[in-house]
Amino acid sequence: MSTTIQTPRTDPTGPRSGARAEIVRVRVPERSWRSELRAIKIVWRRELIRFKSDRLRIVTSLVQPLLFLFVLGSGLQRLSNAGTHGVDLKTFIYPGILCIAVMFTAMFSAASIVWDREFGFLREMMVAPIRRGSIVVGKCLGGATVASFQGVIVLCLAGFVHVPYDPLLIGGVFALQLLLAFSITAFGVMIAVRIKQMQSFMGVMQMVVMPMFFISGALFPASGLPGWLTVLNRLDPLTYAVDPMRRLVFNHLRISPAARRALDPGVTWWGWHVPALAEAGVIVALGVGMMLVAVWRFSTSE
């Protein structure tokens, strides 16, 4: 049997084909550094758009740091009057609180990669003719921008805790928190790229964020820690942001040498006092290192 009757196909002229305009044809260019830059930029921009439309998140991620600052800070002040040599505890913990506000937001931004995976959007980015690394870099920069915006809000509150609005001080603190925001986002992304479920990421975050916060010396001088905690303290990226930030604040206040010694012991490596610039360098190095690990982990995942 060699003949067959063809099924009549429904008229292919669709409902809209009457108004036939010239077809706009686009061409996808070969991959180049410019297309990668464009990809990084749009991933970055998406983070900003989403942050902007999520006002609730801006508020909620401020609640915890402010609680620490004004409630814990005021409450503990009465216990620690003797130890702070006349410095308001709120002033002392302010740089730490600023760092933690940045850190929370940065980690949440990093978590967006897990959401994207769960809601399928990550796939849209992964099949595009771009390097996986560009997605990671865009995410890190986006998270850093968003988190440092959160830092700026806390920075505005400086006056409430007796920190003067000195341009040099504000500028220095801003720069430091920008570096921290990048570094922590890179850390979060490094963890998030292989995690499939939000619950798992939240679990990891609980396990990591709070210890990092406590060990960093954000709430108390890190000089009095036992040996093993001192080791962890030196490995904690947050340490290298809190310490120079606090020194910057103290430099712009009039405080007694005794208070200075007790509250601003500085960070030492085997007895060597690490200067502020080197500390900033450590933050950047850690950030870039973790971002590279994230790129590698993401590129080798299926």
Partner: protein, 352 residues
């Protein structure tokens, strides 16, 4: 009753596996492609070619290996063995070239629900490096096609399932791909929306000179394809045009009502050498081509006929004849099979 057939509706059956449309470099060429997940052989050596401009359907129950095959063609999964090329580029060694030339609409949604429709498309254009001054006009064009231009500034999260699917199709077209992959584009949609999505697809094929590769497990949708490959348990069991596939499984079914069914059966045997069957108070029999036979029947049959009806084999029948089960049964079977695989993986057989 007038003549029901004319020569123009009769055409040669194309040989199996031979592309029917276009010429030159095939849009997709696949050779002995396999994919193994640990112990499970998801795709067991498939071969086919899709010509440029064709609408090619991949039909089969869930778990037959359709999505795995599509993932390999889209460079999302590496083949275990075999070769495949899309738009003339190898899917393993020329991954980026393939990606630049394909558009994808996945089974699961991949839109950003927090962005507007326009922002989603813009993001896509940026990721693909579409020339900046063409982003706007191209966006308008693809959104008008799916009827969403008026909703471009709405947040995607407020869209219905059908609207999202249409937007995904528009997005897949933003960079003018040469091959559009649609993985179950109409799954879970109401019949009206399914119908409109098919309207876009035929319009597309006409306007954009695009090749469409799609998977479906709706039998009625497969009829719209130029050619269909039926996949079952990781293998292609049949590949041809819908009409040819139906013709291959045999005849049209004719049912006649007469005053004396027994006499009618005898007369059929005597006059046409056809074995009729008494079924539900009517006489049923099969002929190769119903439309041609009915005029003859009326002209020559010696008994009066009260009524006649002709029915063609459906793709359900085709699927049945090639896989030995209806698509629904095969699906239940498949899910059982998947559950077993899942159990194996969970009990430590290990993945990949």
């Amino acid at each position: 009753m007038g003549p029901m057939t004319s020569d123009s509706t009769i055409e040669r059956e194309p040989a199996a596996g031979e592309p029917v449309a276009g010429s030159g470099v095939p849009a997709i060429a696949v050779r002995e492609l396999t994919k193994r997940f640990g112990e499970v052989q998801a795709v067991r050596g498939v071969d086919f070619e899709v010509a440029a401009g064709e609408v090619f359907g991949f039909l089969g129950p869930n778990g037959a290996g359709k999505t795995t095959t599509i993932n390999m063609l889209c460079t999302l999964a590496k083949p275990t063995s075999g070769r495949a090329s899309v738009a003339g580029h190898d899917v393993v060694t020329q991954r980026d070239e393939v990606r630049r030339n394909i558009g994808l609409v996945f089974q699961d949604p991949t839109l950003d629900g927090y962005l507007t429709a326009a922002q989603n498309l813009e993001l896509h254009a940026e990721l693909y490096g579409v020339q900046s001054d063409l982003v706007e006009p191209r966006m308008q064009q693809v959104m008008e096609m799916v009827g969403l231009w008026e909703r471009r500034d709405s947040i995607v999260g407020t869209f219905s399932g059908g609207m999202r699917r249409r937007l995904e199709i528009a997005r897949g077209l933003m960079h003018s791909p040469r091959v559009l992959f649609l993985d179950e584009p109409t799954i879970g949609l109401d019949p009206q929306t399914r119908r409109s999505i098919w309207d876009y697809i035929s319009e597309l094929q006409e306007r954009e000179e695009i090749t469409i590769f799609m998977t479906t497990h709706y039998m009625d949708e497969a009829e719209w394809c130029d050619r269909i490959a039926i996949m079952d348990h990781g293998e292609i069991v049949a590949l041809d045009s819908p009409a040819a596939l139906k013709a291959r499984i045999g005849s049209d079914r004719i049912t006649i009502h007469t005053d004396d069914d027994q006499a009618a059966i005898e007369a059929l045997k005597r006059q046409f050498e056809i074995d009729g069957l008494l079924s539900e108070g009517a006489v049923m029999f099969g002929v190769p081509s119903g439309e041609e036979f009915v005029p003859r029947l009326f002209a020559e049959f010696e008994l009066p006929i009260r009524s006649v009806s002709v029915s063609r084999p459906t793709l359900d029948d085709v699927f049945m004849s090639f896989t030995g089960s209806t698509i629904r049964d095969a699906e239940e079977d498949g899910s059982k099979h998947r559950n077993r695989v899942m159990m194996q993986m969970m009990t430590g057989a290990g993945r990949r």
